[in-house]
């Protein structure tokens, strides 16, 4: 079973690449921007807020979405012969793997 059409290639690649990059973004803190909710401060990349905690979640999503959109757009415009390996199942298999990786990454909370 193959992926047919540019849009199909885009959505399958987007879901798969997002899942991988999002995991890496969380594991290595690659946030495109950060937010200090106590003082409403937005900063670029992973700069800590001037006061209170810093939130990176929005930045991680932005990093993963940007990377996934770029890679998916590239794959979507490749000739069909070069994307024969793209399987629709990547759209659920890679995110499922990412979910398992997150459970492993955060297992410490459940073992205390």
């Amino acid at each position: 079973m193959k992926v047919h059409g540019r849009f199909a290639s885009f959505v399958v690649t987007f879901a798969a690449v997002f899942a991988i990059v999002y995991y890496l973004a969380v594991a290595y803190n690659w946030a495109l921007f950060s937010y200090g909710p106590a003082i409403g401060q937005w900063t670029l990349f992973t700069q800590a807020a001037a006061a209170g905690p810093t939130m990176y979640w929005y930045g991680w999503i932005a990093t993963a979405a940007l990377a996934a959109a770029c890679v998916a757009a590239l794959v979507a415009f490749l000739p069909q012969q070069l994307t024969y390996w793209l399987w629709p199942g990547f759209a659920w298999l890679v995110p499922a793997g990412s979910i398992a990786a997150f459970v492993y990454l955060l297992r410490g909370y459940f073992m205390r």
Partner: protein, 191 residues
């Protein structure tokens, strides 16, 4: 454990005061009674929209795994008998609305409820909520593929992809609902 903030006169975990969370005057309105009501209304609305989403995705996932057999007419059979494809747009809109509201509430959680979970040592609830935020993000990225494979005039060759995408999304939604509910119950609304 809790200290009254000298600036805004509201009760906060001591660590929040140490962090300087109540110091900024611009954010003072969020500590007032109107601000509290706004957050409560947002949490309740978020919960209600999430509940609609949970119902929709559960109907869909049951109908793709156990489609109705002819002749069955009991409650379970009717539950399975929904037109799965009709739920897709509603699920996507509800997911986006719920995630948007959750992402706003998350800022409040980060500076208040999270301290309660940490200081109380509720690590399993804390971990479940941490997983929730990541699962929600992964679910957001699934939506374009989910929409595409349901929209594609339901070709039999994509049935397995459709079924597993729906199942994964259902898992994310159920986890998010339960983890959010548990985290909310640790402290309670409006306390």
């Amino acid at each position: 454990m809790f200290t009254r903030c000298p600036r805004t006169n509201c009760w906060k975990p001591s660590s929040a005061i140490e962090f300087g969370i109540c110091v900024n005057e611009k954010r003072k309105k969020l500590h007032g009674m109107g601000g509290v009501r706004m957050w409560i209304a947002l949490v309740i609305t978020h919960g209600l929209v999430a509940f609609l989403l949970l119902g929709a995705i559960t109907h869909q996932v049951v109908s793709v795994w156990a489609p109705m057999r002819a002749g069955a007419s009991n409650f379970v059979a009717r539950f399975r008998a929904v037109g799965s494809a009709n739920y897709v747009n509603a699920i996507i809109v509800l997911y986006l609305v719920t995630a948007l509201m959750g992402s706003i509430i998350y800022t409040k959680y980060r500076i208040s409820a999270r301290f309660t979970l940490e200081q109380g040592g509720y690590w399993k609830s804390f971990g479940a909520f941490e997983l929730k935020e990541h699962f929600i993000a992964l679910g957001l990225a699934l939506l374009p593929a989910y929409w595409y494979f349901w929209r594609l005039s339901l070709t039999p060759s994509d049935a397995r992809t459709r079924k597993l995408l729906t199942t994964l999304l259902a898992f994310v939604i159920w986890w998010a609902f339960l983890a959010g509910h548990i985290a909310n119950n640790v402290r309670g609304i409006g306390t």
